[in-house]
Symmetry: C2
Subunit: 369 residues, 2 copies
Amino acid sequence: MARTTEPLDSKKPSSRKQRGATTILDVARRAGVSPMTVSRVVNGEKNVRPATRAAVLAAVKALSYSPNPAARSLAGAEAARIGLIYSNPSAAYLTEFLVGALDEASRTSVQIMLEKCEATSAGERGAVRKLLASGAAGVILPPPLCESHDVLDELKITGLPTVAVATGRFGKEASCVRINDYAAAREMTNYLLGLGHRRIGFIKGHPNQTASIEREKGFLSALAEAGIKHDPVLMVQGYFSYRSGLDAAETLLTLKQFPTAIFAANDDMAAAAVSVAHRKGLDVPRDLSVVGFDDTSIATNIWPELTTIRQPITAMAEIALDLIVQAIRTHKRNGEAKSVDHLVTYSLIKRGSAAPPNLPKTQPKPAAE
Amino acid sequence: MARTTEPLDSKKPSSRKQRGATTILDVARRAGVSPMTVSRVVNGEKNVRPATRAAVLAAVKALSYSPNPAARSLAGAEAARIGLIYSNPSAAYLTEFLVGALDEASRTSVQIMLEKCEATSAGERGAVRKLLASGAAGVILPPPLCESHDVLDELKITGLPTVAVATGRFGKEASCVRINDYAAAREMTNYLLGLGHRRIGFIKGHPNQTASIEREKGFLSALAEAGIKHDPVLMVQGYFSYRSGLDAAETLLTLKQFPTAIFAANDDMAAAAVSVAHRKGLDVPRDLSVVGFDDTSIATNIWPELTTIRQPITAMAEIALDLIVQAIRTHKRNGEAKSVDHLVTYSLIKRGSAAPPNLPKTQPKPAAE
DNA sequence: CCGCTAGCTGGTAACGCTATCAATATATCG
DNA sequence: CGATATATTGATAGCGTTACCAGCTAGCGG
């Protein structure tokens, strides 16, 4: 009676042409479980013991397994299509984000539909509708769209599962994947304070993104905690773009009492600040320390390389995709899925753009506490 | 002897969900033939009697049968998985490239597998093998990998169809999608000459990419044609990175007789040149014109915006995907597909970073022709 | 009229995955 | 502590199609 269950071993003539691709069976064998269990893990179902899941995941990674979408759709699972709307974040950010999303997409074999949209209300709503029309079962929103009320509203009407990435705060309209911007900004500020800086300029991010606000709050909180009375002229508005950073840095560096350090709310603006400083004959970091936020590729493509907060963008995109896939699944079964808030860890990366202040120069003695 | 062949009638509990679609089996039943014969007819094979063929065709029409692509690809090993290897091009470039590739991928429902690789020989070869192991049936190579001998060699061994994007020249190892770098560089140079520039600095691209060389040749050719004897100190080596552009521009702008314009072989280096110029107190474009190449997002994210050559990156990625899909198809049937060279049109985009030279200043009178 | 080669046609077995349900392990409870 | 719930895993059976090969039907030379 065991005759039907022996396809796995030796006597396999394997008449048909051998295609190299690793199959679910290879993974199962390697992980020491049944193909069914692998399927469950890959599809993010929950009734799998953590240890088993880990073993499977390891095997998946080791064999770089990617499910065959044809087989999957044949077997009855519809191919999940998920939409990804972007407007114009920094190119560096988007690239890393896409890489993560795509990688995970090929692992779980979901189809990603990209949709670019204009930054207008109509453009944003239009993009959502278009995605919907193409059969998206869920939507991922990288910044800055993750905070657009137009997009969020439109999405809420449709009831589609949504995951926002890198918002500053968790709101229940959508699940989100983010770091603790507040804490990260505090940590960076404390680092600068530890280096001896007392007069620190801050270039704010775009005002309608909560992440900007959290970063600003973190900065101010660290300052307050250190007992430093903050000079409001040192807070300059920026909009996350390189260009806006140029203007902001210009403002900061024409101040009568200018700062010994500048903390920009993202790397693009920090890079701009470095450029302005150079243009004014200031050496970074000798005359001015500059730090950024995000650790996108621009951080290491300029000189000196930027001390910054590393956000694991690629990983965040992967997580976002996972969340959305799960959400779609529950959405399909139960109908109701509650939003989750997924915090990932950031880290402070020390590079060459920050150093202790070089006080003697044209600088008046800072009024330290 | 007919006992094994009765799954078609009555006693079918049909446990699984019933999807309405008519299958090859329905057609076979209706035409009174076996599914296999229907398959043959549908696929236009020849060994079918005309009468049989007609009957099948009639049944197909009557039931408006259309083959299930998933099943077809599963059975026929028509694995439409294509690999995309990247190392580290500029972030802006990769983003646009991915956008195009993905868009086309979802349109033709092929699966894209991304693979990042280190810029070492081992890394590159490893990436190819990994892709192969995951069942890639073809590979797309964006720059700079499109010229890596390691990758190309490894690919040649496997015999996988390959499409290189944005190489400078067409080589028969792979199909390619590109612009005419030589002509584009010529056109840009002529534009600068037309503005009145006579002393033009050139920041070269990475020496092991043919596109760099073509651009350089186009530049020199335009100069020669205009009867300008070129000063070799105005040609500086760059490597396509922002950082290398910084060094190159520094070199150019500390020359005793420095140029009134700088033509960088890509936008990143041009952006760096702008930054260096600013740092030296030079106004762009009043004191120095700077032009780039590619029209990636950095071109419009700095100030002044860059006059540059627009490469339709997104469209090129789409075309590349199309070519590879076609190549895979022929590869599977005949075994031999010859490489094609697909040229797309570029365009010169005039923005704010170039203007007629402002001779009087600290500049010695240029030794025009 | 027989043995044979060709030409058609059909049977069988995958392709790689998941739905379903049975089996087993673990947890909960009276 | 046994028994009943619950969580986890596995076995089986297709999903719709094509590859491969065996069988059958004619057509043909001898």
